[in-house]
Amino acid sequence: MGKFKEIFTNKRIIILIIFLVLSIILIGPSLSEGVAIRSVEKNSSASQALPHAMASPDPNLKPMNREVIQSINGIPVKTVEEYYTQINTLTENQTITIKTNKQNYFLTTKTGNLTEAQDIGINVYPRPTNNIKKGLDLEGGTRVLLQPQEEASQEDLELTVANIKQRLNVFGLSDITVRITNDLFGTNYISVEIPGVNEQEVKQLLAQQGKFEAKIGNETVFKGGNKDILYVCRTAECSGITPGSCGITNVGEYSCGFRFSISLSQEAAQKQASVTKDLAVVPSGFGQSYLSENLTLHLDDEQVDELRIGADLKGNPVTDISISGSGVGVNQKEATSASLQSMKQLQTILVTGSLPVKLEIVKTDTISPALGEGFIQNAILVGLLSILIVIIIVSVRYQEWKISIPMSITMLSEVIIILGFASLIGWRMDMVAIAAIIIAIGSGVDDQIVIADETLGKTKKDVENYSWKQKLARAFFIVMASYLTLVVAMIPLWFAGAGLLKGFALTTIAGVTIGVFVTRPAYATILEILVENKN
């Protein structure tokens, strides 16, 4: 047992073991079941829960620290399907108890039609079983890359990022990543990643500059954003489909109108009063009188709606105004949902104001969660089988367990440490990162072969000529050369392509660096203790 003691008391091996233990703690694998909360919608039953509102998780929170729903009304919830089965049995105005791993919440379902009551406003996904964040191509979701259409300062870009985040939050999405990326030529992009969401509407919300203006004639009376608009109503009492507004248009489509009220600042109300006081009053057929000019609503310089102004508002600094619009569809149901969707977008833009720069969508990816799920299993299989085939090849080549078993242990250690590193920095593992892991491990095997051959694969005479230290130095001369060439080849990739290949570059560099400084020295040490004659 002397050798084992020697192995486990060696400094390099202890370092490797510490790295491994830390990595496993960081990855934090667990087998527990349940559904994690992805987001909580504003103004939903969940956001009005007692004792306090259920909230969307902080996107920077580690996956294992997400709030997990364990049971609803005492019935355990293990899968997303079970969650929805239970939600579908809810009735209106019902009080329910949701038990999470943090605390118990009491919710009251909404009144109204049944589907609305059942939607308590919580978006869930299967509980993560470890802290490795999955990339969009593995988890499913939407990624949009936006490019400013004009020269934009760093401040403007940062403001835009903050604004987009706010927009998405107001829209009801919180688990999002918005960041500025750039490329080799210094072009800036804004990358938006929304896991688990496959919504077309989100794209529009992102690309719209959202310059909202209300005009009377050519005069702008108020703009979007919190300077002119103090409050935008988004609850059912003062926003929704206008009763009786749905109908068939002359081209055979269905159309439904929406309306919601907003409160203007005193300043904006005064502005409106000063513009309307000079307008003429025009009587209309139904005994009502309107002003000669209409209030027109413009979004990004395009007129989206036109409202008549009641005669009683002439010169009157009113602060409460109703905004309206419409949506169309092939049937009433679609028209209703299209209308509600545009309402939500318009509300969002009115709350958040316009973006400082005009953006263009240059790339979008929407990946279905089903595809991602299959990819993960497949990628794990690819990884395991690649490692297995390498183990078989080195076992056949060396015919010596003292060389091939440490080699296999080293390979597996490298995988664990790379994944631990990814969990530590919160890096999202995507398909290219998995390819990079396979390749980093491949280069690791190459190095171990070099170490084995340089230290053991010589004739008896050569062994006598050099000390173990010298042989190791010779081996690491080659290992370092191959390390440096691989790293310098990856550096330009880090900066190219709007950050989309950064994951590949980062994972490869991290993988080979860990390999060269932690696992391969440990491998050499194990080899030395097991095989080398230390006289």
């Binding site: 790339k363 979008t364 690819v382 694969g457 691989l486 990856m490 550096i491």
Partner: protein, 323 residues
Amino acid sequence: MKRNERRRRHEQKVQEVQVEHSEPRQTHSSESRSIYYRDYKKLLIIPMLMLIIALVLIGVKLATTGEFINKGISLKGGTSITALGDNLDSKLIETQLKSEYSSIEINVRTLENSGQNVGIFIESDILPEDNLTSNAFIESVQKITGIPRDNLSIETIGQTLGDAFFKQTLVAILIAFIFMGGVVYLYFRTIVPSAAVILAAFSNIVVTIAVLNIFEIKVGTAGIAALLMLIGYSVDTDIVLSTRVLKRKEGTVYQRVLGAMKTGFTMNITTLGAVIIALFIAESAVLQEIMLIILIGLLVDMVNTWIQNAGIIRWYMEKKGDM
């Protein structure tokens, strides 16, 4: 006492292991019979021809199409759609889509897992800037495959971004190449052997691109990442070779080359094994693209390392008077 005995027994065993792993000490007669030993200068023609043919092929392609590589949509803009389902017929779907969109390049291929059909991957030139066609196309795919939009994975990339990506990846390859050359030169500090390594890496990329063109394989950003990887990866064996020949003193130059080859082949075979397995079972188009390029590149590299680089370095050592 016991311990000493065990150690001695172990020493014997170690020596056996080492003998087993020793370089093949061939006799002079068998060495001189080997073409690899005798005609290494003539053998240099093979990699040289390979490089020249590749350059000519790429030149012809550049002259006729204006492109030297078959760009995937991520490098030129377009739309790609992945649909999962085991009963989707890629040929049939391609014909149906082509009849609807005759003026657009559409390419449908089957996604396979261990020989089983798991879905299809559709690539088209439709640019997202053309919003109407783009949406109509996605709807057509939905109709033909019968898969709802939420279950389709859709990737669109604008033309300007595609072009920008392409230009950048060329710059990235160039920079990576210069960096790699710099590291190699700093390492060996001699012109000829460093140049031989750099030539091998250059030849790897050029020949790999030519092979990709012959098989009409499209290269996207992931493929470019793989080409960059190849720069760093394929020089590993060249470094083993150069180090053994230049920095070691034991045995003849030829014996050192053979020793390096034994190590290098083990490295190549393990990598090839892993890459072939990954290529065969990977479902993801990205993973397949990366693995395919590395596979081709490594095969090309075996010729470039063990015939070209080994030939040049032996020639160089011969000139220096070291046999």
